[in-house]
């Protein structure tokens, strides 16, 4: 046996062994095959922010369902044609349940949903549905209201600074809820808003935060994606309320609390129904009640009485006793927006295009 035939036979034996071991492995049983769950994210997961919170939920369901499911995520997917390709790819590769977590994924998701009628699609923050596509969103403003209570009690200058991204209803809703929360405990409180016209630009967010502090704000909050605002607060020795995620690591002294999103409960429910075969497209707008929103770790400098106040308000919002937008409510030009006792409708909320009393300045879209 020369060298060549020797190596050939070794190779053949190896191949044969491999095949044998592959055959010996237990064939996947149709019943125990895991449910494949795909996630499409618009930005990198990072350490804090919108996508990070969704990924936390993905990890939570992975832990809960163990080998009953198998998850996969694709991050930094641009909204548009690329998104459609990514979503279709997942559907094609047997991902039965697909979460797409950015507003701009709505139309691509819908298109793919129509092409893959047997797959289930869940789209965050949109408004379109199909036979196999539902949407879900969170009432972020409820958390903002609670954070406002803390801010109203903790401010000494009675001025809070709000670094905001774009003047769209979702952001305006947050500003107004925060202001109403603040003024529910501190009628003199004022909120100053600076728009940075970007979801993500740490430099500009920092500049906006510094400006607000120089104009007397002693509590900062933000509706933008980076940690720059809470870091600015830490550096300037003022307080901050973080958004999306707990950012206390970046501002251990400054961060009073964080308004955080939690998708764990919702995702758990959806996955369970998909496993049970009872999944149906739904339109979900959850809040404190469904565990979608919380006010994160409250800094020990916040007095117990204030924490109690927040907890009461939280329980009342959950039970429906309290709504951040109940009349009498005027906008900051004095026009009555809600009659006494009137609760705002969801439709009016989603179209909110005015500042409530207590916010300084004029809303730029008008």
């Amino acid at each position: 046996m020369n060298l060549k035939t020797l190596s050939m036979s070794v190779l053949l034996t190896a191949v044969a062994l491999c095949c044998a071991s592959a055959l010996a492995a237990p064939a996947p049983d149709a019943k125990t095959e895991p449910l494949k769950v795909g996630f499409v994210y618009v930005s990198p997961i990072g350490d804090a922010g919108w996508t990070f919170q969704h990924d936390q939920a993905r990890l939570a369901i992975e832990k809960k369902f163990g080998n009953k499911i198998q998850t996969k995520y694709i991050e930094s997917v641009p909204e548009g044609a690329d998104a459609e390709r990514v979503i279709r790819d997942l559907a094609q590769n047997g991902y039965k349940l697909i979460f797409t977590t950015s507003f701009g994924f709505m139309n691509p998701t819908l298109k793919v949903a129509n092409q893959y009628p047997k797959n289930y699609f869940e789209h965050a923050t949109g408004f379109k549905t199909a036979k196999n596509m539902g949407f879900y969103n969170a009432r972020f403003y409820e958390g903002r209201y609670l954070a406002g209570i803390i801010a109203g009690k903790m401010t000494k200058t009675n001025v809070a600074g709000y670094v905001a991204s774009y003047p769209i209803p979702e952001v305006v809703m947050g500003i107004n809820a925060f202001t109403r929360g603040m003024r529910s405990v501190n009628p003199n409180a004022q909120v100053k808003v600076v728009w940075v016209n970007s979801w993500y630009d740490p430099g500009r967010e920092r500049e906006a935060a510094d400006t607000l502090v120089s104009q007397g704000a002693d509590i900062l909050t933000h509706h933008s994606d980076s940690t720059a605002v809470v870091q600015a607060a830490e550096a300037k020795k003022v307080y901050a309320i973080a958004y999306h995620s707990d950012m206390s690591k970046y501002a251990p002294h400054a961060q009073l609390a964080a308004v955080t999103h939690h998708w764990e409960n919702y995702y758990t429910g959806v996955v369970q129904s998909a496993l049970d075969g009872t999944w149906k497209p739904d339109r979900v707008w959850g809040g404190i009640k469904g565990g979608f929103i919380d006010v994160g770790p409250i800094n020990p400098v916040v007095p117990a009485a204030v924490v109690a106040l927040v907890n009461t308000a939280k329980a009342d919002i959950a039970s429906g006793k309290l709504h951040p937008f109940v009349g009498p409510m005027r906008d900051n030009e004095g026009k009555e927006r809600l009659a006494p006792g009137q609760t705002i409708s969801d439709e009016a909320l989603l179209k909110m295009d005015y500042y409530v009393e207590g916010v300084q300045g004029k809303l730029p879209t008008k």
């Binding site: 003047p167 808003v193 940075v196 993500y200 967010e205 300045g361 004029k362 730029p364």
Partner: protein
């Protein structure tokens, strides 16, 4: 008075990354090389500075690493366009894309990290003086470094033989070559200087200004720096003024917003660009100055053997 001092301080802090990057690009362009990779070099500078600052706990080492990393990237660019004589515009654009991608890749595990930023200067007595202390002696050290670099560059470019050589190489490489100047070597050094400055600018952002690393944190500042150089007609002081003007208008429009005026923020956020272009165009409107200052061979490859 406090508000004024504050505005000055914030302006200097906001304008510094632009000023540094513009200075580097200005010297690069003066030697006749157009490097559009500033955004990429800044991003790489930022991520390298942050990674080293995290691991060594020394913001200064981080800043040095940022400058060095961007310089390495600049060397790659120089090799491609000066030794291999590739198209400078295309290579520069590629460098930007590559730098941004590379930074996201190597920075993946550092998004979550927290560092102590580079502290601002604090001199005993001097920094504590009322107003004067805040106005002159309390900035980030990088800001003083930037001003010193500008003074030095201005002096070297206009008053020294080295500056003359750089300008000669940028004006007419064949003539410079004919009188025995090492055209390619001079251009290598100028590109390298550009890389160092861009890296410093990125490092300042990641280690001093907003001590964090995240993808996209440079947010277009590199492109603004490239534009500043042109609008400043390749004069260092004008580039510096342009950078600080840009920073000033950015902050002024935030101030105006925080006062609660009814001007649309979309319009206001356009203002820094508009104001900088208008002002620099006005001060540089003399066509002769533009012609005299623009490096004639900008963007054209030079082969010493031709």
């Amino acid at each position: 008075m406090d508000a004024f001092v504050n505005l000055i301080a914030l302006t200097l802090a906001a304008g510094t990354p632009l000023a540094l990057a513009a200075l580097g690009e200005l010297v690069t362009e003066k030697s006749g090389v157009l490097n559009l990779g500033v955004e990429g070099m800044m991003t790489v500078g930022a991520v390298a500075a942050f990674i080293v600052a995290v691991n060594t706990h020394s913001p200064w080492l981080g800043i040095a690493a940022g400058a060095a990393a961007a310089a390495v990237l600049a060397l790659v660019f120089a090799f491609i366009v000066l030794s291999l004589m590739a198209n400078q515009v295309a290579t520069g654009l590629a460098l930007s894309l590559f730098g941004i991608g590379l930074a996201s890749f190597v920075g993946r595990d550092y998004v979550a990290k927290v560092i102590d930023g580079l502290p601002a200067l604090h001199l005993p007595v001097l920094s504590d003086l009322p107003i004067v202390g805040a106005l002159f002696f309390s900035y980030s050290p990088i800001i003083y470094l930037t001003l010193a670099l500008f003074a030095l560059t201005q002096w070297v470019l206009t008053r020294t033989r080295a500056g003359l050589i750089v300008r000669a190489v940028g004006e007419s490489p064949p003539a410079a070559h004919a009188i025995g100047l090492p055209v390619i070597r001079v251009r290598y050094l100028c590109v390298l200087f550009g890389g160092l400055c861009s890296g410093l600018a990125g490092a300042y952002l990641a280690v001093a200004y907003t001590p964090l690393w995240a993808e996209g944190m440079i947010a277009g500042r590199g492109w603004i720096a490239v534009a500043l150089v042109v609008f400043a007609t390749w004069k260092p002081w004008r580039a510096l003024a342009g950078a600080y003007l840009f920073g000033f208008v950015t902050l002024a429009q935030f101030q105006v917003q925080a006062w609660g005026t009814a001007i649309s923020p979309q319009f206001l956020s356009m203002l820094p660009y508009l104001a900088t272009i208008v002002v620099l165009t006005l001060i540089s409107r003399n066509a002769l100055t533009v012609r005299l200052n623009a490096p004639v061979s900008l963007g054209k490859p030079f082969h010493p053997g031709d």
